[in-house]
C-alpha cells in the first residue's frame, strides 16, 4: 500500500506503480514501451478524474488533511517575496502553530498570517498539529493591528483542526482570545482576504477568518466542529465521522451554496499536493485581483461592507 495515496485512491496507486515499472524496464531494453505507458497514463488520468469527480464529504476531508498537502509556509514561499516573520504576543510566548509576518505580493506590501501544521513527527509536535493557543491568536491580533496602522492589507491562510483544547490554553482564556479577534477583525480598517487551504476547524479557524473576501480551496473543509467531534456527540460514536461530515456540509461546494464563502479556488487533478506550484498560482492570481479591488475602498467603507456581510449570515423565518 502506497502511503502517498489515500484509501480510495489505491486503484490509481496501482496503475501508477505499473507505469513506474514499465518505465524502469523501458530504460534498460530495446523494446519501445512508450505507447503502452502513454495508454496507462491516460487511463490513470481518467481514473483520477472519475474518483475525484464524485468524492464524498469524508473523502474530501481526507484530502484536506493529506500528509503531503501544502501548508501555510509552503504557500508563503511559493506566492510571496521578502517574507519577514514576526514573532510573539508580547505577553506570554511565541506560538509556532500560527505564523505571520510582512511580505510582498507582486511588489505590494501585505501582512500574511496563517496556522501552520508540521510535516514530520518532530515538526508536528513543534507546531502542535496546527492547533493554536491563546498566545497564537494574540500574536495574530497584534500583527493585524500593526498592519491596520500602516493600512497594509492582510492575507490569512486557514489550516487548523481547531484551537488547542488544553489546560494552559484554558487558563490563559482561549475563549477570550478567539472572541477578541472576532471583535477586532469586525472593525479593522484595512482589507482582509482569507483562504481556507486545508482544515477550517471551528472557532480556531474563524479567529483569523473574518474577511472582506473569503475563499476556500476546492478540497478544503470548513466546519463548526470536526466531523469526529460531531459524530461522538450526536451519533455517540467517532466512527460515524463520515456521516457527520456529510450532514454538516463541510465541503467548499456545500458552503458556497449556503452563501458563506465568496469563491472556490480550483485545485489540480488529485488535489493540491499533486501540484503545489499550480495550486499556489491559482491562489496567487485570486489574491491579486481581490487585493486590487479592495485596495481602492476606503477604511470606513470596508468596515461598513464587512459588517453588512456578517449581518447577512443566518437562515431563519419570521
Amino acid at each position: 500500500m502506497n502511503l502517498d495515496y489515500l484509501d480510495f485512491e489505491q486503484p490509481i496507486a496501482e496503475l501508477q506503480q505499473k507505469i513506474e515499472e514499465l518505465r524502469h524496464v523501458a530504460t534498460g531494453s530495446e523494446v519501445n514501451l512508450s505507447e503502452e505507458i502513454g495508454r496507462l497514463e491516460s487511463k490513470s488520468r481518467s481514473l483520477t478524474e472519475d474518483i475525484f469527480g464524485k468524492l464524498t464529504s469524508w473523502q474530501v476531508a481526507q484530502v484536506a488533511r493529506h500528509p503531503r498537502r501544502p501548508y501555510t509556509l509552503d504557500y508563503i514561499e511559493a506566492i510571496f517575496t521578502d517574507f519577514t516573520e514576526l514573532h510573539g504576543d508580547r505577553a506570554f510566548r511565541d506560538d509556532p502553530a500560527i505564523v505571520g509576518g510582512l511580505a510582498r505580493l507582486d511588489g505590494r506590501a501585505v501582512m500574511v498570517i496563517g496556522q501552520q501544521k508540521g510535516r514530520d513527527t518532530k515538526d508536528k509536535l513543534h507546531r502542535n498539529f496546527g492547533m493554536p493557543k491563546p498566545e497564537g491568536y494574540r500574536k495574530a491580533l497584534r500583527l493585524m493591528k500593526l498592519a491596520e496602522r500602516f493600512r497594509v492589507p492582510i492575507i490569512t491562510f486557514i489550516d487548523t483542526p481547531g484551537a488547542y483544547p488544553g489546560i494552559g490554553a484554558e487558563e490563559r482564556n482561549q475563549s477570550e482570545a478567539i472572541a477578541r479577534n472576532l471583535f477586532e477583525l469586525a472593525r479593522l480598517r484595512t482589507p482582509v482576504i482569507s483562504v481556507v487551504i486545508g482544515e477550517g476547524g471551528s472557532g480556531g479557524a474563524l479567529a483569523i477568518g473574518v474577511a472582506d473576501h473569503l475563499a476556500m480551496l476546492q478540497y478544503s473543509i470548513y466546519s463548526v466542529i470536526s466531523p469526529e467531534g460531531c459524530a461522538s456527540i450526536l451519533y455517540r460514536s467517532a466512527e460515524k465521522a463520515a456521516e457527520a461530515a456529510d450532514a454538516m456540509g463541510v465541503t467548499s461546494s456545500r458552503i458556497y451554496e449556503l452563501g458563506l464563502i465568496d469563491e472556490i479556488i480550483p485545485e489540480p487533478l488529485g488535489g493540491a499536493h499533486r501540484d503545489p506550484q499550480a495550486t499556489a498560482n491559482n491562489i496567487r492570481s485570486r489574491l491579486l485581483s481581490n487585493l486590487e479591488r479592495l485596495s481602492q475602498v476606503s477604511g470606513n467603507k470596508l468596515v461598513e461592507a464587512r459588517y453588512d456581510r456578517l449581518m447577512r449570515h443566518g437562515r431563519f423565518k419570521e
Partner: protein
Amino acid sequence: MGTDKMSWISQIMPSKIRTEGGNRRSVPEGVWSKCTNCNAVLYSAELERNQHVCPKCGEHRRLDARQRIDCFLDEQQRVEIGADVAPLDPLKFKDSKRYKDRLAQAQKDSGENDALVVMQGRLFDMPVVVCAFNFNFMGGSMGSVVGEKFVRGVNAALSNGAPVICFAASGGARMQEGLLSLMQMSKTSAALARLAERGIPYISVLTNPTMGGVAASLAMLGDVNIAEPKALIGFAGPRVIEQTVRQKLPEGFQTSEFLLHHGAVDMIVDRRDLREQVHRILSILTQQPALSTSQAAHS
C-alpha cells in the same frame, strides 16, 4: 443523604424502609423540590422567592430565559424583541433524529421558538436590553436565530443608547446548522464591536454552563464579565481536554472561581445581588446617580 438534619431519621429507621437517592417520587411535583447539591427538601414557592438559589447551601439552580428576565428586570415596561424569529433547517440535518423533530420537541417543551429571549426593559428604572439564553432549548446552542435575536437586541440598544446585559447558558454553537452557526460568532461579535464604538456598555453574565462558541464570542466580550458562583465556563469541554492532554484536570478547573483567579472574569456575584451590582456598574459607567437606599430596598 448525609446531612445532619437527616441523621436522626437514619438512626431510628430500619434500613429497609429508608429510601436512598431520589428515584422514588413520593413528593408531588411542583410543591416541593430537592436541592441537587445538598439534598435539602425545599418548598418551591420559597425557592422561587429566593430566585432559585438554595437557601440552605447557596446552590444556583438553572433558570430558563423567562425566569431569568423575571428575576432581573423591573416588572414594568418590558417589550420583547424578535419574538417571532424562528429557526429553519437549512441543511436538512439528520443524525439519530431529524433536526426538524428536535426543534419541534424543544419548542413544545419550552414554549419558545429558540434558545434566546431578548427583552427591552428597565433595571431600577434605567432602560436596558437583556438577552437571556435558554439552556433547556437544545443546550442553549447558538444557531441562526440566537445570533439574529442577539443582534436585534444590540440594534435596539444602539438606537436608544441602552446598555446591554447578556445572561449566557450554552453548550456552544449549534452543530445542526453547520457553518451557519459558526458564523453567528462573528456576527454577534461584530454587533458588540459597534456597540463599543458607540460608547454603550455591555455586561456579560456567565452562568452554568457557558462553553464553546458562545464563550468564544459574545460571552467573553463584556466590558465587565460577571460569573455566577460555581458555573462551568470554558472553551473546550473537560472531557475533550482530558482526552487530549491525557492527564487529570486540576480541582475546580473551569469553574467561575478558577476563571476569577486566572483573570477571565471581573467578579463572581450571587444571583440575589445581581440587580443591584449590575446597576451599580452601569450607573457609574454611564455617569448616572446611584440608587437611593429606598430604591435598593425594593429590589
